[in-house]
């Protein structure tokens, strides 16, 4: 099957430092992928390149066979790539409901129905009218997660979805991600919680110093000498 997303030798430099130094990877539709690596290994920068927040200095990015490097973030979003951020980026002085509505483009009534459904899914329906900035950290994280789902993107990038979310909510969140996969969506997530990565992802990419160190099934990755070395040192 043709890959949904293809990253070809992407390089992104900040000053003299190559945050991403020639990474290639391909995502097949309908699967859950993990992206792991020590702090500063380039995971978030790679996310930013894929979503157009940062512009890649070299290499190509193809979504559904179409070049997307060089497009603006809002254009890439409308092609069907949604994301969350590592640091929460809800709109604090918009209500939880408004945070969801604002990203939609179709009929307003329909959007409201979908927003209420998604709020109910993460048990936030009673806080729909509350300013997002007044919600707890975990609740804001959930709002950001369902905001991505409002427009039904084909590729969903999640930057540390588990951080700061309690166990019960986390399990529901992970269940929601699996359901998305079952609907044919593709998910790529950055995560430090190895339990989450190993339990959820079908393929894991390991980044270290901006380069792809390894790629494979979670079990294989966990046993890989180089990965262990990158994480724990010699």
């Amino acid at each position: 099957m043709a890959p949904l997303l293809e990253v070809r030798s992407v390089v992104k430099r900040f000053g003299g430092v190559a945050a991403v130094g020639g990474v290639s990877l391909a995502l097949e539709p309908g699967r859950i992928y993990g992206l792991i690596g020590p702090n500063g290994s380039g995971k978030t920068t790679l996310f930013n390149c894929i979503t157009g927040v940062d512009r890649a200095d070299e290499g190509q990015i193809l979504f559904k066979g179409r070049r997307t490097d060089g497009l603006k973030p809002h254009q890439i979003f409308h092609l069907g790539v949604g994301r969350t951020f590592q640091v929460i980026r809800v709109f604090p002085e918009l209500t939880a409901l408004e945070n969801l509505l604002v990203v939609t483009t179709g009929a307003y009534g329909e959007a409201q129905g979908r927003a209420r459904e998604l709020l109910a899914l993460v048990k936030l329906e009673r806080l729909a009218g509350e300013f997002a900035g007044n919600l707890s950290y975990g609740q804001q994280k959930l709002v950001e997660f369902i905001r991505v789902l409002m427009t039904d993107p084909e590729l969903i990038l999640l930057d540390e979805p588990a951080a700061g979310v309690n166990r019960t909510l986390l399990n529901e969140l992970l269940e929601a991600v699996r359901r998305l996969r079952d609907q044919g969506k593709t998910v790529l997530l950055v995560e430090h919680d190895m339990k989450v990565v190993m339990g959820l992802c079908e393929t894991v990419f390991v980044l270290d110093h901006g380069e792809k160190l390894a790629e494979g099934a979670p079990g294989v990755i966990q046993a890989d000498e180089r990965v262990i070395e990158a994480y724990f040192g010699r």
């Binding site: 157009g52 927040v53 809002h74 951020f85 809800v90 709109f91 002085e93 918009l94 604002v102 009218g129």
Partner: protein
């Protein structure tokens, strides 16, 4: 409350419409200035209150509108209502030319660019003496139309407030607010922020352009210093901040309270007035950065329509 508010608004509108029938010429002039300030504060609110892009040279649209419509009247002999609308169109055109490049600037850089624009326009108008009369100013044909201008000014103030109402209660308005809240996230969530900022900037420039024309017609004489003063930008900002920026009724409330205050104090203490005005700015920024309505909204969780 829900039904009382529209009723109160309707009563107020009828009262204001009947006011010139029994008022003195002075009273009408004072009220038309109040309308002017409400329209200006509300226009500033459209770009700066909603998107967070602080326009620090907003009076440039007032001055440009004043000159454009005066020239249309003097040189081309247009009827003043049409000329004032023309002033609005020219101001919006200027906003497009300036907004296209400058709205890519973030934070304080945009504010400085707009501040600079105002200075540039003042100099340009002073320089082209042949057309504008330069520093000597421009006189309009004599005409007593203050009652008509009162109604026109009131209409503009009401129209800008109505436009603000429609925007704030729509998805378009929410998108403008996401730019203020977190522009990077707004972009990543599919919002073409540059285009939205430009729309807001055009909308926010049109009314000051019309109001500038009306004010010029009312005064009968304009000069560069009288229609491009920095203090006017500051006044509209303070009015919007005082009432509550980003809200629908905040700039109306702020315009009304501060204008009434200014009129009352101005008459008695000419020098103290500036000092008090400065003190209000400091007090609002320090104690109540959200303004009166912003504080009430936050405290009682009021809907955006208030």
């Amino acid at each position: 409350m829900k039904r009382g508010f529209p009723v109160a608004l309707a009563v107020l509108a009828v009262g204001l419409a009947l006011y010139p029938l029994q008022a003195t010429g002075y009273g009408v002039r004072v009220m038309l200035q109040l309308f002017m300030w409400v329209a200006l504060a509300q226009s500033w609110n459209l770009i700066s209150g909603l998107t967070g892009y602080v326009s620090f040279g907003h009076v440039v649209f007032f001055g440009t509108g004043a000159y454009a419509s005066s020239l249309l009247i003097v040189k081309l002999g247009w009827a003043w209502p049409l000329a004032c609308l023309g002033g609005g169109v020219v101001a919006a055109g200027l906003a497009f030319l300036i907004g296209w490049p400058c709205l890519r600037l973030k934070g304080p850089y945009f504010a400085i660019a707009t501040l600079g624009l105002n200075e540039v326009m003042r100099v340009v108008v002073s320089y082209y003496e042949g057309l504008t009369g330069g520093g000597n100013g421009l006189s309009l044909p004599t005409l007593d139309a203050s009652v008509e201008i009162y109604y026109a000014m009131g209409l503009v103030a009401a129209a800008v407030t109505a436009v603000t109402y429609v925007i704030v209660t729509s998805r378009f308005g929410l998108r403008l607010m996401t730019i203020r809240e977190d522009e990077v996230a707004a972009e990543a969530m599919g919002i073409d922020t540059h285009r939205y900022k430009l729309y807001a900037f055009l909308l926010s420039a049109a009314a000051p352009g019309i109001v500038g024309g009306l004010s010029a017609r009312d005064q009968g004489y304009i000069e560069p210093l009288s229609v491009f003063p920095l203090i006017m930008t500051i006044t509209m900002i303070v009015m919007a901040l005082f009432g509550g920026k980003g809200t629908i009724w905040g700039p109306v409330l702020g315009g009304f309270v501060l204008f009434a205050f200014q009129e009352a104090v101005w008459a008695h203490f000419i020098y103290l007035h500036q000092l008090l005005f400065g003190a209000i700015i400091v007090a609002v920024v320090l104690l109540m950065p959200r303004g009166i309505l912003g504080v009430l909204q936050q405290k009682y969780n009021l809907p955006r329509t208030i």
